[in-house]
Symmetry: C2
Subunit: 300 residues, 2 copies
Amino acid sequence: MRLGRLAVALCGLAGPAQAASEPSLQAILDHAPAADWRRIDPARSLYLTVDGGPVVIELAPDFAPRAVANILRLARSGYFDTAAVVRVQDNYVVQWADPAAEDPHPSKDEHPRPLGDAAVTLPMEVDRPASGLEITDLPDADPYASRVGLSDGFPIAGTAGRVGLAHCYGMVGVGRDTAPDSGNGSELYAVIGQSPRALDGNVTLVGRVVWGMERLSSLKRGTGPLGFYTDRSMDVPVGPVRIGSDVPVAARLDLRALRTDSASYRAVLAYERGPRSAWFVHMPGHVGLCEMPLPVRKAS
Amino acid sequence: MRLGRLAVALCGLAGPAQAASEPSLQAILDHAPAADWRRIDPARSLYLTVDGGPVVIELAPDFAPRAVANILRLARSGYFDTAAVVRVQDNYVVQWADPAAEDPHPSKDEHPRPLGDAAVTLPMEVDRPASGLEITDLPDADPYASRVGLSDGFPIAGTAGRVGLAHCYGMVGVGRDTAPDSGNGSELYAVIGQSPRALDGNVTLVGRVVWGMERLSSLKRGTGPLGFYTDRSMDVPVGPVRIGSDVPVAARLDLRALRTDSASYRAVLAYERGPRSAWFVHMPGHVGLCEMPLPVRKAS
């Protein structure tokens, strides 16, 4: 079971067993009916290999259809197999790319990999009509948007009529240069710190890390400007990278995410706002968008 | 220069030089007069040693006088010199303590260190009157509190009349068991992910990591419940731990923080809300409490 913030005990000991009458996030998940869990779709999952283990990203074609299609095209062509983490900026992002396309400049006999039949430029995809989406609205104020909630497991922000993915922990986006259409998905980042929500509307978000996030978040921070690694020997390979449905079934992770439109998720929301367990002497009464967890587990 | 989130370029290249007329966070800092920087006071700083380098915590006696006094007492007695990180929960906290006081149970010949003349229990210190504090209020809505801002470099949340420290990235708090007075400062944690604001009002916060945060945030995540290390060999020593004023002057870091009640910090606030640099096609127009950076630099 991997959760954003399952438990709150801050003591050295495990803490006392909870009485049956006390709310518990684990109890909500333990009692969630099978129908409240959905299978993470291998056809829109990206498997990276970091430090010998898998990192799984669930892509969001409902929000960024063109960028997701381009990324799937690049992944299927093997483009990412030589990609590496080249930047880790503390409390911000980890970013991976073709090292030969990066500063510090590669040696003369290295050349950036061509993108093949993938697009080199793409319009940004930062919001879409809210209609047609299942949305679980959150009741509390957000500093940045008049409407926040969850849709298909993703944090969203926007207005009554239009919403887009929001920069919460673990969200994955498309690096770009100053030109808004310069991001094509060949360079991706994941949020590893406090939600940089000022990026909402400025970069195409394409999905979320749903497994193995700790393999990215614990990487050594870069010491160059913006957290770039200053020495190519620090680069951390992320390949091989495969689309989930191209991974042999035996090697796939059968991941299930709690449906954010389910009664169980509404119970999670109620728990997050309080009442919570007896450890809490002050109930928060509210919850922020990026403090809402997405429970993901391996199917047993 | 160490900043929460100094720059936003998400491209592989450094991006074009900014025109002189464009706002830049770096330019604000470069032009901040000396009077807008304050010296981090060594007498209320805690120097940890992690992975061979310093982690500096600025303590907040204005908000948690009893806990800070207890921690200084413990530090001066050498209590923390054998302490170690025993827990790293992704997107939540890193926590250090006396390993002999932790699960998994130590071997029979290990005994938890006595606290000496430090208190074993302490009342929680989670808020105080707002009067008497310099507060820079933030203008945007917060999900959790009717009033948010910065005071003496620390993020605060509360009401018009009472405020307390808020659980933002890098904030340091006092681990406790279920009993509210069970935290005494012998076990401390730092926030390494999205702000767990539900903890506000439930734990005594005592300060903020102002230098070397990446030494804590990049530690290997624990695989036990709540991110505890399952094997004592994984523990990461944090000692020696010294009060800054007990560190030989030659070994101290002469750190300066931008005053959060200065005109320069108000310029930072304006920058964070926008307008920003030309990279941004959509200006945020707002900023969340825990997205506000605290610029800290070494004196040159």
